[in-house]
């Protein structure tokens, strides 16, 4: 499952199953035999809109098992709403697998996985792999309120423990999920995916704790395949992921370079980001 081997292509999938674990949240199971073998934790896909209008939508690959993968939709606008209307039997073409997954080759013992919102979709496979490779994985899962916390049992199912946080305290800790990183024994590695503010907070805590953190970033995507440079994030020019650009022009001699979240990412080490 090296990303080098995971040559992306257009996969014609068929919707197998559909469920709504929470309000405005839809999980679609997709029949995609050739794809499953190529999927690495942290990979995403670009879903081609069924009606052919508007841009393709970036979605994390949630599950990948047998000949089935799944995606989780949180309806925020027209494209997610259209995809959420898909029913079993409907066709869905996707570009996949895309991006570089999490760096899970040599894992420490204790891994904390921080997730919020749609970020959850990008970390289930990572949790599974951590456990399979002998690490203790704990999901730190945050949301506004209880109803928005879904599929906790899937994480327990792959052998991860789970702690929740809600803004309103309706379930678990009341407050920021990232506060949980400082409660109890600190992890040796942090993996995170969710809204940018949550990722920034995670980076802060990680630095404070002196723990390395891998962040899967969200940006507005155009192409999703590295062609448009619309999805960049500033990173250290010295990073292996930095585009091999020379120092920027005379007007802007910065020490960072803008890397593409869809191509060089979406996973970056917190310490290489210059955001």
């Amino acid at each position: 499952m090296q990303s080098a081997l995971a040559a992306p292509s257009i996969h014609a999938t068929v919707v197998l199953d559909r469920r709504e674990p929470g309000p405005g949240i839809v999980i679609l199971g997709l029949e995609a035999p050739e794809l499953v073998a190529l999927v690495k934790p942290g990979h995403f896909l670009m879903a081609i809109p069924p009606a052919g209008v508007a841009a393709a939508t970036a979605l994390g690959i949630y599950e990948a098992d047998g000949s089935r993968i799944s995606v989780m939709l949180i309806i925020v606008g027209s494209r997610t709403a259209e995809l959420a209307r898909l029913q079993p039997g409907d066709q869905l073409d996707v570009l996949a697998p895309l991006g570089n997954g999490f760096f899970l080759d040599d894992l420490p013992k204790r891994v904390a996985i921080v997730a919020g919102g749609v970020g959850l979709a990008s970390v289930l496979l990572a949790a599974k792999t951590c456990v399979e490779r002998g690490a203790r994985a704990e999901l730190l899962y945050g949301a506004r309120t209880k109803a928005a916390l879904v599929d906790v049992e899937l994480f327990e199912g792959v052998g991860a423990s789970v702690r929740c946080a809600t803004d309103d305290g309706s379930r678990g800790y009341r407050g920021f999920v990232t506060d949980l990183l400082e409660q109890g024994k600190p992890p040796e590695l942090i993996i995170a995916c969710g809204p940018t503010p949550m990722l920034r907070a995670t980076a802060g805590k990680a630095e404070h704790l002196g723990v390395a953190a891998q962040l899967s970033l969200e940006e507005t995507f155009g192409c999703g395949v590295g062609a448009c440079w619309g999805c960049v994030v500033p990173i250290d020019r010295a990073s292996p992921r930095a585009p091999s650009f020379p120092a920027a022009d005379i007007h802007e001699r910065r020490e960072h370079a803008n890397a593409r979240v869809c191509k060089e990412g979406p996973v970056f080490w917190a310490h290489e980001l210059r955001w």
């Binding site: 040559a7 992306p8 292509s9 257009i10 081609i48 809109p49 052919g52 209008v53 508007a54 841009a55 393709a56 606008g77 494209r79 073409d93 570009l95 940006e219 507005t220 995507f221 155009g222 192409c223 999703g224 395949v225 590295g226 062609a227 448009c228 440079w229 619309g230 999805c231 960049v232 994030v233 585009p243 091999s244 650009f245 020379p246 120092a247 920027a248 022009d249 005379i250 802007e252 910065r254 960072h256 370079a257 803008n258 191509k263």
Partner: protein, 323 residues
């Protein structure tokens, strides 16, 4: 280039001295260098790729967000992020030799001199089949007046690039002007071999929750189906004003969309934003064009160029040179 194909295919077209086996090009800035889309489509089935615009010095580009989706389209403000011409020539251009389609370089700049310098260096490379001149940039010497919005500046940039290369140069016009035909005439008179019509339409979107512009750069360029009627009219008007071929673009997703441009007077088309919906779009367009020509009994695409443009006198002539 695909010379063999060119002879036979009813979809083959010629833009200046550039022969294309297909009339469908990946649009500048939307198609990377082509390789980004190679996993998804066979690049030998498109006419070519127009590369991302390159400038004299490296540019970090604009802050994010650089993109926002709008009804029927998208705003972008990338800010011409690129490594600068020296690094580009040294590290990137050699790779383009392997493309199974035409490779058109795109030149941008902030002074007439920039365009001439970058244009000359880029055109000198054998991997580059032709040059597109992106004049939708501010001229720093002139209170940032956009080259494409001023007839005189358009003429000066065109002449400057014309002076440094014999390769086909395609000057890309902006729709953000009162009279695009007047600008087109200047570019033609100054030596452009062809015109790309249109670049993006200026626009902005506001984040009503955060009370600030959606784009890091505040304003951006609108692309996608939303601008198609604006682009079709621009092609229609430019086609009546000049004799040189036009590369139409702006919201093309399907063969029917592309046909609007050919019938208005375009000899080839670029497909940009539609690739973000489905990378197979350029193939679907080519297939649909072939079917349309058969259905309507046309031997070649060239026969329908300008067919819906009553004031378009030059279709014949095109057929002449592009035979």
């Amino acid at each position: 280039m695909q010379k063999a194909a060119v002879a036979t295919s009813p979809l083959a077209v010629r833009i200046g001295r550039l022969e294309l086996a297909y009339p469908t090009l990946g649009a500048s800035g939307c198609y990377g260098s082509g390789e980004e889309y190679a996993p998804f489509i066979d690049l030998s089935l498109i006419g070519g790729v127009v590369l991302k615009s390159v400038t004299r010095y490296p540019r970090l580009g604009n802050p994010t967000p650089r993109l926002v989706h709008t009804p029927g389209g998208m705003l972008n403000a990338i800010g011409l992020q690129n490594p600068g011409i020296e690094h580009y020539l040294e590290h990137d251009v050699a790779k383009f030799a392997t493309r199974p389609c035409a490779v058109i370089g795109s030149v941008a700049g902030f002074s007439v001199d920039d365009y001439a310098y970058v244009g000359e260096r880029l055109a000198a490379r054998s991997e580059i089949d032709a040059l597109e001149v992106n004049i939708s940039c501010p001229n720093v010497a002139d209170e940032g007046e956009t080259f494409a919005c001023d007839p005189a500046l358009t003429a000066r940039v065109t002449a400057a690039v014309r002076a440094v290369t014999d390769k086909t140069i395609i000057v890309k016009l902006s729709p953000n002007v009162t009279d695009i035909a007047a600008i087109a005439r200047e570019a033609e008179a100054a030596g452009a071999d062809a015109l790309a019509v249109i670049n993006t339409v200026r626009g902005m979107s506001i984040d009503v929750e955060r009370c600030r512009p959606m784009l890091g750069n505040v304003t951006g360029g609108l692309s996608g189906p939303a601008i198609r009627p604006i682009a079709v009219l621009a092609v229609y008007e430019v086609a009546r004003a000049v004799k040189i071929p036009i590369v139409g673009q702006g919201g093309i997703e399907t063969a029917r969309d592309a046909l609007e441009f050919f019938l208005a007077g375009a000899s080839a088309v670029c497909i940009g934003t539609a690739n973000f919906t489905d990378p197979r779009a350029p193939l679907h367009v080519a297939d649909g064009l072939r079917a349309y020509l058969e259905k309507h009994g046309h031997g070649s695409l060239r026969e329908i160029v300008g067919k819906a443009n009553v004031g378009f006198a030059d279709a014949q002539q095109y057929e002449g040179d592009s035979g």
